[in-house]
Symmetry: C2
Amino acid sequence: MSEPALRVSDLETPALLLDLDKMERNLKRVADYAHEHELRLRPHTKTHKTPALGRKQLDLGAVGLTVAKVSEAEVMLASGTPDLLVAYPVIGRKKLERLMEVAAKTNVTVSLDSALAARQLSDAARESQRHIGVLAEVDAGLGRVGVAPGSDLIELVRGITRLPWLRFDGIAFYPGHIKSLDEGGLNAVDALSQLLAAAIRELKQAGFEVRIVSGGSTPALFHSHEIAGLNEIRPGTYIFNDRNTMLMNACSLDDCAGSILTTVVSTAKKGQVIIDGGSKTFSSDRPVTAAEVSFGHIVDSPEAVFTKMNEEHGYVDIRRCQRDFTVGDRVRIIPNHICVAMNLHEFVYGIRGDLVEQVWKVEGRGKLQ
Amino acid sequence: MSEPALRVSDLETPALLLDLDKMERNLKRVADYAHEHELRLRPHTKTHKTPALGRKQLDLGAVGLTVAKVSEAEVMLASGTPDLLVAYPVIGRKKLERLMEVAAKTNVTVSLDSALAARQLSDAARESQRHIGVLAEVDAGLGRVGVAPGSDLIELVRGITRLPWLRFDGIAFYPGHIKSLDEGGLNAVDALSQLLAAAIRELKQAGFEVRIVSGGSTPALFHSHEIAGLNEIRPGTYIFNDRNTMLMNACSLDDCAGSILTTVVSTAKKGQVIIDGGSKTFSSDRPVTAAEVSFGHIVDSPEAVFTKMNEEHGYVDIRRCQRDFTVGDRVRIIPNHICVAMNLHEFVYGIRGDLVEQVWKVEGRGKLQ
């Protein structure tokens, strides 16, 4: 006899649920878009941190996977990926030695923005006799990592090309400053396109071949083909989407595959219920665009507001709700930011309707180094 | 030959460091205070989530340990504690069955605020033939869990005392609304004292014996002896303290035992450095009192401001610093909230000076259910 089917109602809470129909639709939509516009797709796996989900992305045509940390790269090898981009400067000898172990098993590329990071990488590559790809990171407007286009970029690229065991592949950027698809956001897409066109032209004039131009976060994802020269995208959140993606008008409620199932544990205060998840379950990330402080979209009672949290308590204002809540009621919530929420859960549950079809361990959870 | 000593400079970053001298002093100070004032000490282990640290608290005289979740209770059994308080309503059959397994190994008490939670607990206790202690949760002003003193409390306690296999021990509260020790905070301590005195008197008049009056978070900790009737404290943060505790004037900088060691990974933007830790390393918890948005106290350069974070990037404004920063520099930061930071780290490092004396696995990390 086979085991009885596990149902969502059997799960203890809090539990992070992934709606598999929605997730598969999200994955296919972006794979199709990338295929249609001949864009290389290297999804950022920091969102799911789960090799089995990286494998699904590869099976749909991704050319490789992206990670932020060497420890995430180590975990993501289990996906069988032929290619890993570490979209983060890797600094420090031990970390670089570990990266070279990864490079013994798959093709590794690193994006970086300093001569020092390039030199350390070249030294480690030489010692282990591994060729490593490099993308020069350009600041596209966020003001985080990346050099300014122009002389800084040319100097960085010249440095990279002179270092042994490094292969200059092109440039990378992260358009995290584009937070909505309103008129301002679309103007920012235009400005980005011009900035990149100039950067690529200058690099070519200086004698450098720019084979890869890698960018693309989830919000502006479907405008990637409008950006001159862009030929690779690295979206992460698109596999699940979240409340932030919705607030940025970059997906609909129906595209949100990730939610957190909670239980009402107290109704002692009138007009409020306390649920069994707070900052250790959702993270304390606030909405990226909205001015008000709230921590998720309450699926079955959108008029309820998740106003406050402590570590294990969520405060939900139910004063505008038509229904009553009782201790033991289950409440499903789409978190503001699914990437940080996934990182808090040891296991996540792939569901189809009321059936739990998959239990995944989040293998990359807490891999910080 | 013995292994060469591990030094802080050998650690890869980001790494959560615990200064053992400071931690031991913090532990002893509160143990001495509790002893002096004849207060039972049941430290909340949600801060460290590490059985070895719970053991240290017991060795210094704690009568038991406190947890927020059944899964934390399961983990904390390894400390050898003779007593566990689950300071959280346990709702749902499976969770209660797991709690009864814990109760087979140590004395278990639960704090709760609803008749439904009490009934479910009694049913599970009866089925497994385990006696479970119960504290009735009182709302002391935070408006989170807990019933109002007066008729609600008397009704809750009456319900508990009528249920089989439950032992009514007394009342619990959490004074999380006291966020500073200024005049307002001390007035709130007075008000709390009066509220509790009335609640205890009413319960006694109704014929109930209140053996335990359990409260005490870290900020108002050393005022516990001034609160009428209080005979048990459950502070958590005091073992390490953090920037929030400092901002609440409840500890000094020198009392902060926990810090996060990071590395500068980019200096591309003038006046700013990027460090290799963000919301997945520190959590995105903002300061609990300060109006400005900042994410930690930068130990060696207090004039630098940790202004912004993404998942793996911290933005540090260095415009007011006298010194320069280079890629590869190490920066040590006291996080706003150590409890949520600990929960993000797989391992933490107990240090004395530059020596790494202990490596602890955070066994309770991500135990949500």
